[in-house]
Symmetry: C2
Subunit: 254 residues, 2 copies
């Protein structure tokens, strides 16, 4: 047996998210079925980021164990021949047997993209959130800064979470605007709570409209109350960009 790591890109539009569930098709399910067919074994992948329905990915990570003789680096090519056009495995390689995509120390990057102009652009409708009202970029940038560092993100976590410890570390949170009116919120952290990036994005949008002051972010964090933060921004604006694991694979104490 050896353990293989996949980097998985997908357009989430037509999926009920990553994780296998009774109603509706998921990315994990399609990977399991396609890998099982390709390798002639019963394969069950373990994913790093269990993205919600409608969320996209350029670099999510999944691992599985296999007896196949196909060289690990070639699996991605054989797999892509069989996968639907909205999922494409970017690379495959062997990893140590104790590598676990969620338990090993990692830095994950997400981007939330907002098309901020008066009229929507059809070619961008699936992976940017169209927002009509003008957003103040400078204020959003000021507010984003307060998310950096280690904080209790209870106010920025869905009440549906099962997490007991809601302290997480954000390494960077930046906001930029492109000439095409796309505001990109880029967040890198060592761990994220349920809906955390979408609530950060929704809160930054409220900052952009003036409903929330940039300086009040520390107060919202301190309150540890979901109702104090902004709304959860829609799923389709979010993309899982990529995950960096340490050169040495360390087990995180969980």
């Amino acid at each position: 047996m050896r353990r293989v790591k996949l980097i998985v890109a997908y357009e989430g539009t037509n999926y009920c998210g990553w994780q296998v569930q009774p109603n509706g098709c998921t990315i994990e399910e399609v990977l399991n079925r396609t890998l099982s067919e390709l390798l002639g074994e019963n394969i069950a992948v373990t994913g790093a980021s269990r993205t919600d329905a409608g969320v996209h990915s350029l670099g999510n990570v999944a691992v599985f164990d296999t007896k196949t003789r196909i060289p690990p680096e070639k699996i991605c090519y054989a797999l892509n021949q069989r996968l639907p056009a909205d999922i494409a495995v970017q690379s495959s390689c062997q990893v140590p047997d104790d590598f676990h995509p969620r338990r090993c120390y990692s830095e994950k990057t997400y981007e939330y993209r907002i098309l901020n102009r008066k009229i929507p652009v059809p070619t961008l409708r699936r992976d940017t959130y169209f927002y009509y009202r003008p957003l103040n970029l400078e204020k959003m940038q000021q507010a984003a800064f307060y998310f950096e560092g280690q904080h209790d993100f209870k106010s920025f976590c869905s009440v549906k979470t099962s997490a007991e410890d809601t302290v997480r570390k954000i390494l960077s949170c930046t906001v930029v605007k492109s000439p095409e009116d796309i505001i990109t919120i880029r967040v890198t952290g060592t761990g994220f709570l349920y809906n955390m990036v979408r609530i950060i994005a929704g809160t930054l949008i409220s900052v952009g409209t003036g409903e929330i002051l940039p300086e009040s972010i520390p107060e919202i964090l301190e309150k540890k109350d979901r109702s104090k933060a902004g709304p959860t921004a829609p799923a389709h604006g979010l993309t899982m960009i990529g995950i960096q694991y340490g050169d040495e694979i360390q087990r995180k104490s969980i």
Copy 2:
């Protein structure tokens, strides 16, 4: 009666191109139907660029005549409420009665986008042409230069054309590559023949692979023979970017 100009963006994936035709739904048809319903008149638009099936647009132009009392600048908002999500009118304004989107002097810009890497990216699959083999950017740039200026583009025109005069003027033709492996061919000209940008793109791809030498472009132009140029690149890589009309509207002698 007054004449109204629309700037029309669309994702062409689900349409049989711009122009009304017996089989399948077109952009022109959807605009005619939606405008007629909105304004309570029989509306027939005239388009500037009659894009092929699968081609996208950020800035195509259409005009129509109407008796409506709705202010011309407001028509786009009312229209977008009724249009499907893959068509969005970017602006509407009144123009002189003799303004004609094809006969008036204009400079049209198209972009052809190629995703040039080993593995496709699902979120880019509808509006970039995925091309696996490595392309030499510098050679493509050298070749692109030869298209600039006034030439007989008979070699770069579908044999299905009805055009008698195949001389056209290209104001600029550039090739750039983004950090995300997207090669963008941007072409601006005062007029284009049937499939001309897609054949230029297909030829530049053949230059990128080494099948055609950059220096042989002038020779291919001189031959006036479609079979000497490269293949017609697929429609979905092409986007109509925008059209600039002269400040003074001049009639082109046709």
